[in-house]
Each structure stands twice: as structure tokens, then as C-alpha cells.
């Protein structure tokens, strides 16, 4: 209330403080807002320029919808009134712009618009500058209404460009005439196509030429401000030239100018030149001109010291690539990849993959390039990339033999990347026969080569290799027994991983029971993939557009392929409809979801069923790949839930805290259900066994546990699980295994949602699954000296997190020690000078990084308080660990 009184004061100081107060503290308290608005209205009507200025500033600073509603009608009047002071006009224009941005619906277009356009002719350059900003934004939304501004802007621009540097007095900035206004006018012109009127068009071309000419003149001042302002105008002019894309002459001149900047000693200019050349490369008129600078750009890639500049160079190479220079550019990019910064490697990998595919004249080159890519930067080769190679190889008969030979040779290397093993396994499985004639790559040698890599690979790759083996059984009957021996070995048949075990059992069975004919049908070569847009391109687009909403469908499919053990070679692409060949389905390589949805129509399909009629479980778990509970949150939204909302959500954090320092125990219990947990973690991997015990004597039906990760969590934590049997008998217990991979550090915990039907009522239970960051701790022992040295290294304020809290449990030294060890860190004795304090150290392992953590806990027995300090190399980690550990004492 006081503030409103101040507002209505006639004294400047009081008014100013009042305005300051409400711009900071205003909220939508309706009573006050009305009074404030009244005061502002009075000031706007006051004709005192200082007061009007204050009021306009206030409106612009708050910029809320309420403000827009109240004043959007008023301000245009002030703006175009003949007797308004210049400074007020400037404020009014920008204030209106601000309101238009937040709530365009409240700003009515009307006859004021044409008068605003005429402000471009105003005497006062400050007014013109402000008005141009307003018009540019308005014209983007209503191009028709502001069409007349084009010719006015051109004539204004031409007057500025041709003026002597002293003409504009105070609006000349370091010898550059009105740079801000010029840039704004050029931006305004970029809202429109090239002017139709020949005279206007000629005048504009003249302006642009003058600007380009000026760039060649010797600088009028050595100051960086002069060159910055001058070049700012130049770059904006080039943007306009590119936007119009109609004057070949100007485009080529622009390109040459940028070419000069490429070797300028200012990093900023090199950066911008690379950036605008990128857009220039896409114009048909200047593409060739851009290409002449290829050597310079490649050189920049090699010598630039700034990552972001190198990144621009990569972008430009990508943009200027065509059939004529693809080989050179791809080779250079591969070269660069070996030393590239980790942050941009994945993007470069995608770009190389796309260019190699797009401009491949000969596909052997393509295969070579991709294999090189995997060799150089295997970790950054995403699934899409190697899926794509396989698609292309399968679709093109002419490279199959070559591909088989090349991967075979590449696999000879003593250490090769897992992705190479995947590609190699797949290709040899399909086309190994093409090179089997050569005694150096006989079937047995091929098999032994692949099998020598087997034990070093992760589960998904091993699963894929098993599929390769069964394909070998078909391709090379002579090594059938060797393969059967491998499948029969305990390490396969009794493998702890269900997927591997299942595959081994099934394939072994298949190879023993089925006749050669059936084998040949079932294990036929993969049919060609339908032609489609490269999924890599989609991935690159996704990477480029930060904060874009990812298609829900896509996420779902992505999860799907995760669950299937990564062997599903169908790329993540919404339009994926490959020919549903039952044989492909069997291997889990092709279109699993399709065949599971409808009964297999072809005769081979029935054959398949015959083979497995004695082991029904074989087909069942493979088929519902798409129905997998983890992948289908849509189950939760089915009508069952909505009609019977017997919801109980037990996601309180206590549950989490209970499990922070231990791995096993009862997670949840009510009169129906008990959930027990048993888990083990090593480095960034973990496995959790969830036991669901039915405490009643009645069956649970439709029993579906689902793991729900928020989007944020999904990118940092990878969970894989299998569906459980939908019925749980009374008194019985079922078990579910969750494989956990920590990609990067995370804050929240995944949610386990369980739905089932018990005696006619629908039960829905949600609990947080206690997978917390500290589980990926590895203890580190270190001496006192090392500890303090590291402690000091982590002295950045963001790296430290401290919490002082009251003890919730009795302060027992031994229990505290046990808890710190249970938390995952090493307990360091004799480090802290005060023996009562506890000190710990460890490393958090994630797939992407390892984070060193130090902790110190200082108990205060009198006050029954603790002070906990955490220092880690990553702010979010410090924060999360501190949160978790604080709850334990």
C-alpha cells in the first residue's frame, strides 16, 4: 500500500522508489494491481516526460499479462501522438514490443500501424532505432500490414550507408555510422523477399554493394570497436544477401569476403565467417565459391585452438560436401576424429556416416569408411550407425562379399571395438559363406575368430553372436558339431543371463531337431530392407535441436530395442515396416513386434510352430517383445485403472533412505503383497532381484510390474528387465531381474509400479526403487597426504556441499562407521586430525565419467548434531550424495 502511495507522489525520488519496489515485488494481488495500474495510468497521462518514462519502464520490466491487458491499448496512442517527446516515443515503442512478445493477443492492430511505419522517417535516430525493433517483430507475424516498411527501410539504410562518418553526430560509433540502426534495418528487410519494385531493389543492391566495398577500405581506426561495428553491419548484410538468395554476384562477393575472414587473426571473425559460410554453402549460386575454401577450412580444423571454432569448421565441411569432394572431406574428418574433443565426437561420427552414405559412389569405400569410424571412435558410434551399415550391406548384393572380407580382416586385430564385433558377427552370419572358399577364412576359422571375442563382450553382443552361430550351422553344416559343443557348454546353457541362456537352449534344440530343409528356411538370409530415410539423419537432427520434444513413439521404440538386448537391427524409425519374415523373427533380428501381433500368414510360419510344439516356452518369450511391460506404459493407462482407482502410492523417500546403506531387504509390505530386494553393484553396472511374494491364498491376476523412469532419469540410468508371469499363485513368490546401467549421475529414483487384480478389485501400488547414485561407489583407500591434496583440488565452491543436521539416531561410532562403509566409500582412518571425525573417499562410476568423491562427517555430541561436507568434481553429485547421506545418521 505504501508503495502505491509512493507511486502517486509528485516527488521524483518517491515515485522512483515506488516504481522500483513494484517492479521487483509485484504479484497478481488483484486489489493492489488495480491501484498500481491507476497510478501508472495517471503518469502516462501526465505529459511529464520523466514520469511517463518511469511508467513505461515499469510496464516493460513487469511485462505481465495483466499489464498488457491494461495498457496495450494506451501505448500505441502515445507512440504515434504528434506531441510526444522523442525519448518517450522510444520507451513507448520498446514497451509495446515487450507487451507484444508476452501477449500478442492484447495488442490490437489498427490504423496506428501505418503511422508506426512512418516513424522510420523520423528525424531522431533514437526513435527510428526503437521503432525498427518494434516493426521487425510485428512484421514477422503480420507481413502484409507492414509491407510498406520495406521501401522506407531501404531509403533510410541508403541514407546511412552513404553518409559521411560525421553526419550522424552522436550516432556514429567509432567512425561507423549508426551501426545499430543499420543492423536493425537489415534485419527488418530479412522478414521480406527481395523488393519487387525495381527502383527499390536497385537501391538496396547499391547499399549492399557499398557495405561490401567498405569492408575492403582500410580501417579508419585501429580500435577493435571500429572493426566490430563495421563487421557487424557487414555480416548482417551478408545474412540479407543469403536470405534473398537471388543475386549471384553479391553471393559470390560475400563468399570471397568471408574467405578473407577465415584467415583473420581475430578468433571471433573466423568463428562468424565459418558460421555464415555454412548457410552460404546451401545456396546454389555460391556453393562452388564456398568449395574453393576447402583447404583453409581443413586447415582450421587442424590448427584452431578453440573447440567451438573447430566445431564450426566441421559444420562447414559437412555443408560444403558434395560428390566431388566427399572422399577428401570424409578422410579429413576421420583424421580429425582421432584427436577431436570428446564433446563433439558423436556428432562428427554421425556426420561422417551420413556423408559416406550420401555420396558413396562405390560402396566398398562406404564399408571401409564405417569400419574405420568404428576403429577410431567406436565408443561414439551409436546403434543407428551400425544398423545402417548392415541395412546397406544387406540391400546391396555387390558389396556383400567385400564387406564379409573386410570385417573378417578387421576382426583379426587383437583388440577391436565391441561395435565391430557386432557388425562382424552380423555380416559373417549372413554372408560368411561368400568368403568361405578361401582357406584363410574357412568356416572354422571364421567361427573361432568370432568366438575368441565372445567372452570379452557385453550381454547384447553375446546374444547377437549366438544368433550368428546358429546361422553358421545353416551356412556351414561341417562345423555344426563344434557350434553345438559351444552352445552346450555350461557357460552358455547355465548362463546367469536369461536372454543368453534362452538363446543357447533354443538354438541348440533347433540345431538338433530340425532337418536341413527347415534350418535353411528358418535361417534364411535376411530379406532386403525397404528403402527409407536414414535413421542417422534423424538422430543428428535430434542432437541438433536441444530441448525439442522427442516423439513419444520414438522413445517407445527405442526402449523396445533396449529390452530386446540390442540385437534388433530395425533402426529407430517411425516408418519401420519391414517384411515380416518369420525366420527373421526367430532370431530376434527383424520385425518381432509384427509377427507377435498377428498369426504368421505364410507356410513357413506354421513350420516354425511345428518345430517348437514341444517347447512352447521358446516362442512365447521372444514374441511379446513389443508387449514387454517395461516398454509399454500405455498399459497403465488402459481402462482398468481408471474404473478402479484403488491407488496407493508408497513413493515416500523413507524407503529410499532405508536402502541407501544396504542392498538387501524388504522394500514394501502390506496385507497382500511383500516385495523383497536383493541387489549387487559393480562399477557402473548393477543387478537387482525383485521378489514379489503373494501373502494371500488367492491368485493374483494380470500381475504387471512396470518400471517408470522420468525422461530426465532415462538418459542417465538404463534399466532392462523381462516381464514376469501375469498370474501369481497364493503363497507363491515370483522373481524379476533388473539389469542396471548408470550412464551419468542422477538425482531421482525410478518408480516401480505394480498392478494386479486380487479377488475382483484392481490393486495399484507404486514404490520408489532404491537405486541411488551411491550404489555406483567404489571405495578408494588413500593416505592422509593424498586426501588433503585432493581435498584442496576440489575447493571450487560449486564442488562442495555442506549440511548441518540434528542426529536422528543415537550417535554410536561403530554404527556410523558401518554406515559410511555401507554407503560405498572407503573409511579412512587417521586422516582427520580430530579422531572423532569420520573421513571417506571413493569413486562414483558412470558410463560416461568417473567422479571422485571425498566426504567428511563431524559429529558434535553435546549438540547432537552432525556436519557433513562432501567434495566431488561434479556439483550435482556433491548435492545428491550429501542429500542421501544426511538422512542416515
Amino acid at each position: 500500500m505504501e508503495a502505491v502511495n509512493l507511486l502517486s507522489s509528485n516527488r521524483y525520488t518517491e515515485k522512483q522508489i515506488g516504481y522500483l519496489f513494484i517492479s521487483v515485488l509485484v504479484n497478481s494481488n488483484s486489489e493492489l494491481i488495480r491501484l498500481i495500474n491507476n497510478a501508472i495510468k495517471n503518469d502516462l497521462a501526465s505529459r511529464n516526460p520523466t514520469f511517463m518514462g518511469l511508467a513505461l519502464h515499469c510496464i516493460a520490466n513487469v511485462g505481465s499479462r495483466e499489464m498488457a491487458e491494461a495498457f496495450a491499448g494506451e501505448i500505441p496512442k502515445i507512440l504515434v501522438a504528434g506531441d510526444t517527446m522523442d525519448s518517450v516515443k522510444q520507451s513507448a515503442a520498446l514497451c509495446l514490443l515487450r507487451l507484444y512478445r508476452t501477449s500478442p493477443d492484447f495488442v490490437p492492430m489498427g490504423d496506428w500501424t501505418s503511422r508506426v511505419v512512418h516513424l522510420l522517417n523520423d528525424q531522431h535516430l533514437g526513435v527510428v532505432t526503437a521503432a525498427t525493433s518494434l516493426i521487425t517483430t510485428l512484421a514477422q507475424k503480420n507481413p502484409e500490414e507492414f509491407k510498406t516498411s520495406v521501401s522506407l527501410a531501404v531509403s533510410r539504410l541508403s541514407r546511412i550507408v552513404t553518409s559521411a562518418s560525421t553526419d550522424l553526430q552522436d550516432y556514429t560509433y567509432y567512425f561507423v555510422p549508426a551501426p545499430w540502426l543499420s543492423v536493425k534495418l537489415l534485419r527488418l528487410l530479412q522478414c521480406y523477399p527481395p523488393p519487387e519494385d525495381a527502383a527499390v531493389r536497385g537501391r538496396l543492391t547499391e547499399c549492399l554493394e557499398t557495405i561490401l566495398n567498405k569492408a575492403q577500405e582500410p580501417p579508419k581506426s585501429k580500435k577493435v570497436q571500429h572493426s566490430n561495428a563495421k563487421n557487424a553491419v557487414l555480416f548482417e548484410a551478408i545474412s540479407l544477401i543469403i536470405h534473398h538468395d537471388s543475386e549471384p554476384n553479391l553471393l559470390v562477393r560475400a563468399c570471397n569476403q568471408l574467405g578473407q575472414f577465415l584467415q583473420h587473426r581475430e578468433t571471433n571473425l573466423r568463428y562468424l565467417a565459418l558460421e555464415s559460410m555454412c548457410t552460404l554453402a546451401s545456396s546454389e549460386f555460391s556453393h562452388e565459391a564456398v568449395k574453393t575454401h576447402i583447404e583453409t577450412v581443413i586447415n582450421a580444423l587442424k590448427t584452431e585452438r578453440d573447440v567451438s571454432v573447430r566445431q564450426r569448421a566441421v559444420d562447414l565441411l559437412y555443408a560444403m560436401c558434395d560428390r566431388s569432394n566427399a572422399q577428401q572431406i570424409v578422410a579429413e574428418m576421420l583424421n580429425y576424429l582421432e584427436t577431436a574433443d570428446y564433446s563433439i565426437r558423436e556428432e562428427i561420427v554421425l556426420k561422417v556416416a551420413i556423408l559416406a552414405e550420401k555420396y558413396a559412389v562405390d560402396y566398398t569405400w562406404y564399408v571401409d569408411t564405417i569400419l574405420n569410424l568404428i576403429r577410431i571412435a567406436g565408443d561414439y558410434v551409436s546403434e543407428e550407425v551400425w544398423y545402417r551399415v548392415i541395412q546397406i550391406v544387406i540391400n546391396r548384393d555387390d558389396v556383400q562379399g567385400y564387406a564379409a572380407k573386410t570385417v573378417f580382416e578387421a576382426l583379426q586385430a587383437p583388440a577391436c571395438h565391441e561395435n565391430l564385433v557386432k557388425v562382424g558377427g552380423y555380416i559373417l552370419g549372413e554372408f560368411g559363406n561368400l568368403i568361405a572358399g578361401d582357406p584363410r577364412s574357412s568356416p572354422l576359422i571364421q567361427f573361432n575368430l568370432l568366438h575368441s571375442k565372445f567372452h570379452l563382450c557385453s550381454v547384447p553382443t553375446r546374444a547377437l553372436l549366438l544368433s550368428t552361430y546358429i546361422k553358421f550351422v545353416n551356412l556351414f553344416p561341417e562345423i555344426k558339431t563344434t557350434i553345438q559343443d559351444v552352445l552346450r557348454s555350461d557357460s552358455q546353457l547355465k548362463n546367469a543371463d536369461v536372454e543368453l541362456q534362452q538363446r543357447a537352449v533354443e538354438y541348440l534344440r533347433l540345431s538338433t531337431i530340425a532337418s536341413t530343409d527347415i534350418l535353411a528356411t528358418v535361417l534364411e538370409e535376411m530379406p532386403p530392407f525397404p528403402e527409407r530415410e536414414s535413421s542417422i539423419l534423424a538422430k543428428l537432427k535430434k542432437k541438433k535441436g536441444p530441448g525439442t520434444v522427442t516423439d513419444l513413439e520414438e522413445i517407445k521404440k527405442e526402449r523396445n530395442s533396449d529390452v530386446n538386448g540390442g540385437t534388433e537391427s530395425t533402426p529407430v524409425n517411425a516408418s519401420t515396416v519391414s517384411t515380416p519374415s518369420p525366420s527373421a523373427d526367430l532370431l530376434g533380428l527383424g520385425a518381432a513386434p509384427l509377427t507377435s501381433a498377428a498369426p504368421p500368414p505364410s507356410s513357413t510360419g506354421s513350420l516354425l510352430v511345428d518345430v517348437f510344439s514341444d517347447s512352447a516356452s521358446v516362442v512365447a518369450p521372444l514374441a511379446p517383445g513389443s508387449e514387454d511391460n517395461f516398454a509399454s506404459p500405455d498399459l497403465a493407462s488402459s481402462e482398468v485403472v481408471s474404473e478402479e482407482p484403488a491407488d496407493t502410492v508408497h513413493d515416500a523417500d523413507e524407503l529410499i533412505h532405508k536402502f541407501v546403506c544396504k542392498n538387501n531387504g524388504v522394500l514394501f509390505e502390506n496385507q497382500l503383497l511383500q516385495i523383497g530386494l536383493k541387489s549387487e553393484f559393480r562399477q557402473n553396472l548393477g543387478r537387482m532381484f525383485i521378489f514379489y511374494g503373494n501373502k494371500t491364498s488367492t491368485q493374483f491376476l494380470n500381475f504387471t510390474p512396470t518400471l517408470i523412469c522420468s525422461d530426465e532419469l532415462q538418459s542417465s540410468l538404463n534399466l532392462q528387465t523381462k516381464p514376469v508371469d501375469p498370474t501369481v499363485d497364493g503363497g507363491a513368490q515370483v522373481q524379476q531381474v533388473v539389469n542396471i546401467e548408470c550412464i551419468s549421475d542422477f538425482m531421482e529414483a525410478p518408480i516401480l509400479n505394480i498392478q494386479f487384480r486380487y479377488g475382483g478389485t484392481f490393486q495399484n501400488i507404486s514404490v520408489k526403487l532404491p537405486i541411488t547414485l551411491n550404489k555406483f561407489f567404489q571405495p578408494t583407500e588413500m593416505a592422509s597426504q593424498d586426501f588433503f591434496q585432493r581435498w584442496k583440488q576440489l575447493s571450487n565452491p560449486q564442488q562442495e556441499m555442506q549440511n548441518i543436521f540434528k542426529a536422528k539416531h543415537p550417535m554410536d561410532t561403530e554404527i556410523t562407521k558401518a554406515k559410511i562403509i555401507g554407503f560405498g566409500s572407503a573409511l579412512l582412518e587417521e586422516v582427520d586430525p580430530n579422531p572423532a571425525n569420520f573421513v571417506g573417499a571413493g569413486i562414483i562410476h558412470t558410463k560416461t565419467t568417473q567422479i571422485g568423491c571425498l566426504l567428511r562427517l563431524e559429529p558434535n555430541l553435546q549438540a547432537q548434531m552432525y556436519r557433513l561436507t562432501l567434495r566431488t568434481s561434479k556439483e550435482t553429485v556433491s548435492q545428491r550424495l550429501c542429500e542421501l547421506l544426511s538422512e542416515q545418521f
Binding site: 522512483q16 518514462g53 522510444q90 526503437a130 540502426l181 534485419r187 571471433n268 568463428y271 578453440d306 567451438s308
Partner: protein
Amino acid sequence: MIRFILLFSRQGKLRLQKWYITLPDRERKKITREIVQIVLARSQKMSSFVNWKDLKLVYKRYASLYFCCAIEDQDNELLTLEVVHRYVELLDRYFGNVCELDIIFNFEKAYFILDEFIMGGEIQETSKKSAVKAIEDSDMLQETMEEYMNKPAF
């Protein structure tokens, strides 16, 4: 349009912030922390531009202070550098050889000068004379008012 302007010291202490978009306080803090980290980590030889999310950061260091503007994709980077420079010139003109302490102790003046220069994320007055004059005018008004107010009342 300039989305926001941050001034911070080499030690990462925020000295002045101006937001031309509406964001909750928590979000602002998060953004600030992130940007300060990015900018401080860059060496002097690097370019003054950083792509950050869908925005471009343009920064420049004056003595111990970093001036950082976040601009939109189609905005002109070089000119934004000059916006910063002009603002420093204005501060310099007003304070007479401005230093970090001036901004710490007279932060309200620094804000007023910025308001006079930029409004709603767009340049309002590019002429140094006019901007300085506007600020001096309001100072005059304020001083006379203060003098007036400080006179003992009878």
C-alpha cells in the same frame, strides 16, 4: 532480442543481472550458475561466442568483470559485443573510470543506466550523449529532491 545480461567477477560472484524474459527464481539461479561456469572455463584466446542451448552467449571481460549477454539465434553477435562496450562506456562516463566496486556499491545506478540504454531486451538509445543526459537529468531531479527533503521542517 537480448534475453538476459549477467555481470560477474572472475571469482564467479554475480554482480548484476537483468532478465528480459520471465523465469522462476530457481531457473534463473540454475542458468546463472551454468553460464558462469561455462564462461569462466574459457581461455582468453577463444572466441567470445558460445552456443548455449538455443541461445548464443556473447561475453567480454573488462578488468575483473565479465559481461555476458544471451541473445537469440538471429541476433548479431559482433554488435552485441559493442552493446556491452557501450554500456561500459556509459558506466565509465557516469562513474568516471568505473571499477567493480562502483558497481557493487552503486548497483542501483548501474541498473538505472542499463534501463536507460536497453529496454525489454532491445537497444533504446545508442547515442552516448542522450543516454548520459537522461541519467544526469534524473540524478539532478533526485538530488534536488533529496536536498529538499533533508531540510529540517519547521
